[in-house]
């Protein structure tokens, strides 16, 4: 039985200061992160355990990814266990570790609420108007990421991940895209495409994340016991606003990885050229583009996704009890069926379709060409996290987008951590002992309890530190010193 798929997302938001095109985005992002008014602790993010230069293929790159001193000071851990910080001149929200895909979608959405409040407060205190966008491209050749993370066993050979996951990642784009007008990065001309990110992928496998982006990223940084775990760091995905779509994206991927680890994927379905297929899938709104297969012959992305659906439905029925997987498989089946018969009917669940419906409406009503600035402005505004300005929220509030969560549930997820992973311990400590927390990392917390040395609490097990194990301990510890003492240290 595969290792439980603990999972979570990280999103870099686009940032604009109105009326000041010359603004410094790193400074503006710092302002946003520092302005967040919700429960959190600003602290030092301890980098000693991080190793973004370690490659899953077994070697290390010296001097890679050392933290930028300017962004290293702007770090905070939120009461929900998330990390809010500045990365590459963007404000970034890294969601807490979650137990299953529906919860992962909820905590991804909580990030929008956090960013909305941070932007509103930043605007208030600075007297400027700061807007944030949950998207991945500026339409001018610059892309910024939405990443996903899945816990894998160290015993899983990374070669198997490369071999079996590549085609899935390329073809899932038909239901993971957030939609984009035009092309970037010298790909062929197109009016509108399914994803924001596909044009930027240039390698099949690699360590890079900011240039020559690979379909399979090999960063070997488990954020847990390295002798037991890997973390599969997925960089080929769009940031989504649709709750159903986030659920589908992370749920199908977690399920595929569990099946991969259990040897339940009978065929790697190798593509002849995954990098070419990547943008071809994104550029094809008809769902009919034949992708060349490595063994000869062709198949469409949709046909390949049906193969995965068939295998994973059988796998889930055999191996998984949680009803969330049945819901996921039903939603996936509905999505593939409609992509086959009438993709526009998915305007209630997929960002790329919802946005296209809006753009088609304007094109028809106002006779606009795809290159018109008004359409490009609309396409950007779909992603604005402001509830009044953001067109996604306008659609959702009219009932044109199907929701999985209420606003109240999302609001609560900004201050309460998930209960079944170590994020619970992190989040509760932020709420209960904010004055004693001095440093944090995904796999440790460091406390100052007034003694000569700082106390470090390691959290090398992603499923420990959950409510069942430490809930009562925290309830009964009135301060951090008591907590540390009871933890035995």
């Amino acid at each position: 039985m595969a290792l439980h798929k603990v999972l979570g997302t990280e999103t870099e938001y686009g940032i604009v200061v109105r009326g000041d095109p010359a603004y410094n985005p790193a400074v503006a992002s710092t302002l946003v992160v520092n302005s967040y008014p919700g429960a959190r602790v600003k602290l030092q993010w301890s980098f000693e355990e991080e190793s973004p230069g370690r490659d899953a293929r077994g070697y290390s790159h010296d001097g890679y990814g050392s933290p930028d001193p300017e962004s290293a000071v702007v770090n905070s851990v939120l009461a929900n266990g998330a990390r809010l910080y500045v990365d590459h001149a963007h404000p970034e929200y890294s969601a807490p570790e979650t137990y299953e895909p529906l919860e992962a979608a909820l905590y991804d959405k909580a990030g929008e609420w956090v960013m909305r409040k941070a932007a509103a407060t930043a605007s208030e205190v600075s007297g400027r108007h700061v807007s944030l966008y949950k998207n991945n491209s500026d339409g001018k050749g610059n892309s910024y990421g939405a990443h996903e993370n899945y816990l894998l066993s160290r015993e899983t050979p990374f070669g198997d991940v490369i071999r079996f996951a590549t085609t899935f990642m390329v073809t899932r784009q038909i239901f993971t895209g957030a939609g984009k007008i035009g092309r970037e990065n010298d790909r062929p001309e197109v009016d509108y495409q399914i994803t924001q990110r596909a044009d930027f992928f240039e390698e099949e496998v690699g360590l890079e994340t900011t240039l020559k982006r690979p379909i399979i990223n090999t960063r070997d940084e488990p954020h847990g016991d390295p002798s037991q775990y890997r973390r599969f760091h997925v960089i080929i995905g769009d940031a989504n606003l649709s709750e159903v779509q986030i659920f589908l994206k992370v749920g199908t991927t977690a399920l595929m990885l569990a099946a991969l680890e259990d040897g339940a994927l009978p065929d790697p379905l190798d593509l002849f050229d995954p990098v070419e297929s990547c943008w071809q899938v994104s550029h094809d709104l008809t769902m009919k583009h034949p992708l060349d297969l490595d063994g000869g012959g062709t198949a469409t992305a949709l046909e390949l996704q049906w193969r995965y659906h068939e295998w994973l439905a059988k796998y889930a029925e055999r191996e998984l009890d949680d009803p969330v997987w049945k819901d996921l498989l039903d939603e996936w089946e509905r999505t593939l069926n409609l992509l086959e018969t009438d993709p526009m009917k998915l305007a209630d669940t997929l960002d790329w379709v919802a946005k296209k419906r809006l753009l088609d409406g304007y094109r028809e009503r106002d006779g606009l060409a795809w290159t018109d600035s008004k359409l490009r402005a609309l396409a950007l505004q779909y992603h604005d996290v402001d509830a009044e300005k953001g067109l996604y929220y306008r659609l959702a509030n009219r009932g044109a987008i199907r929701r999985l969560f209420t606003d109240e549930e999302i609001e609560r997820a900004t201050v309460e951590p998930p209960t079944r992973t170590r994020a619970y311990f992190r989040g509760r400590c932020v709420t209960e002992y904010p004055g004693s927390l001095v440093a944090a990392n995904w796999d440790s917390l460091v406390f100052d309890v007034g003694e000569a040395t700082l106390k470090r609490v390691p959290m090398m097990e992603p499923l420990k530190g959950d409510a069942a194990r430490v809930g009562r301990l925290i309830d009964e510890s009135e301060d951090a010193a008591t907590l540390i003492e009871r933890l035995g240290g």
Partner: protein, 62 residues
């Protein structure tokens, strides 16, 4: 054509025409909803689209 066949054929025609009407009503309702939506969005659209798009420039990230 027997009476029964005629009746069946008429019934089929009727049901086809009902389906057509339903389909038309559904797509008309959809169009109306879309018109409403566009009217609502007109109110919040960026005022100077060209300027807004021009100034939306981001640093590359991960």
């Amino acid at each position: 054509m027997s009476d029964r066949e005629r009746a069946q054929s008429r019934k089929r025609e009727e049901s086809e025409s009902t389906e057509e009407t339903e389909a038309r009503t559904e797509s008309e309702a959809d169009l109306e909803a879309l018109d409403d939506l566009l009217d609502e969005i007109d109110e919040v659209l960026e005022e100077n689209a060209e300027e807004f798009v021009k100034n939306y420039v981001q640093k590359g990230g991960e």
